[in-house]
Amino acid sequence: MLDISLQIILNGISLGCAYALITLGFVLVINAIGAVNFAQGDFVMAGGFLTVVLAEFMVADNFNPIRASGVIILPLVLISMACFGFLFSMIAYKPLKNRPPVTVFISTIAMGLIIQHSINAGFGPEPQIGPALISSGTITIGTLTISKQQISIILSASFLILCVGFLMNKTQLGRKLRAASQDSEMAESIGINGPQCISITFSLAIALAGAAGLLLSNQFFVTTSDGGLYMLKAYIAVTLGGWGRLDGAVIAALAVGLFEVIMATLVSYVVAEALLFAALLLVLLFRPSGLFAEAIQRRT
């Protein structure tokens, strides 16, 4: 019983870690431009498909066509998705930056649909499976059997989250990104290139979405319609974590992943989803600024 409980918790944490990457990117963009990037979920899906494509191409050799492992593909996915993120900011945000936030909402929704339909046209609606991060299979510790993939997801996501934390808090670039997101006009007044910071933020956010897509593509498969659901999960995590808070978003995303897996195991996936949305409604009703909220001016 204990083994099963630990296994469920591990499943929840690994899913929550992937959600945390999606949510981190989501919050970074909210803080930078004051608008929601509704295409974030579609970039998770795009990252998953990119992983599938790269894995097919990167075979070990012609005689031993084993698909390349996710951990080798991960840097390529991060770089490619960061480039997409830069392009995305140039197309979906930059021309509209002086318009009301609702314009950016619509533009990101439109871009998300374009991504979704383009991939659908290329791959079809069938689910695809990405490679395992290192290898599939299990490790047995005493009576506890742990999936290697889950451990790899947790380690990879934790590493990326720590990297983002380091970048944002310990580097001059991170300080510039934070300053520009807190007061873009004042950031310009001290010599920070605000538009460049926004493009970098988009790149970072979409690279994280791509990484999440890679991590999820093996265990949960990837289909072109996944984006909306990931987007909603990120939205729930951001709402629970307090709008604009990076630490709150990561904790809430982990909680969402755990809750979803535990409820899906104990009751059913449908009930888990319904309860998640009910929890979102309750938070919006009774604590609209989120469970870990503090005043916007205190954002980190």
């Binding site: 300080r175 510039k176 934070r178 007061d183 004042m186 007044s189 010599g191 954002r299």
Partner: protein, 242 residues
Amino acid sequence: MNNATLIISNLNASHKREQTIRDIEITLKEYQSMVIFGATGAGKTSLLRAIMGLDKISSGTIQLNGQNFHTMSTRQRAHLGIGYCPEGRRLFPGLTVWETLAVTFNGKKAERDRRIDEIFHLLPALKIKKGDRAWSLSGGQQQMLAIARATINNPKLILLDEPTLGLSPIMIDEILEIIGSIKDNGATILMAEQKIEPSLSIGDLVVVLSRGEIIYKGLSDDIDPDQIASMVMTGSFEPIHN
């Protein structure tokens, strides 16, 4: 090359399509400082924002050490050597004191650390709070940090917009003392203020604005605070004849 630090000629600017300042002519020589007085809405903030490139300039020119910069972006103006301390401080709330100074400094890491140490030596109240986020500081500490941010790159010109706003009398004296010491170090300062008497000592020159226009310009020694107060209240200049 003209030896004046700042020359503003026939400057007109607008904010959200509404003209805020009209035909401003100001010459500020090296090491001089000027205090701009005026009632709320007189155009003090707008003038500083126009100089910083935050409000749209419709006509006129601005030169710093002979270099025209009115067509430059705000960022370029900051790199040119203009330090800006806006009304309401506008600190980055989530950044600590140290991070605020570090992110503002343009230069190498060792030089940055030395300059931050200098600032902490001048403003020990900030050194104690160096790890605290800006939002958690008191009003006076926030103002000190805003001034430190405006001066950390040793700018040629420092724009201060109502630095004593919302502070206690003791803190006002302390802030003006800090600004006085920055001036004594040779900085050229353009400061907008509402509190006439305490801030008059900062300016070698005085300008009074009303409805976006200069209604008085002269040496601070040539005018007394009551006359300035009268101009600010009435919006017109009437010389006192003894």
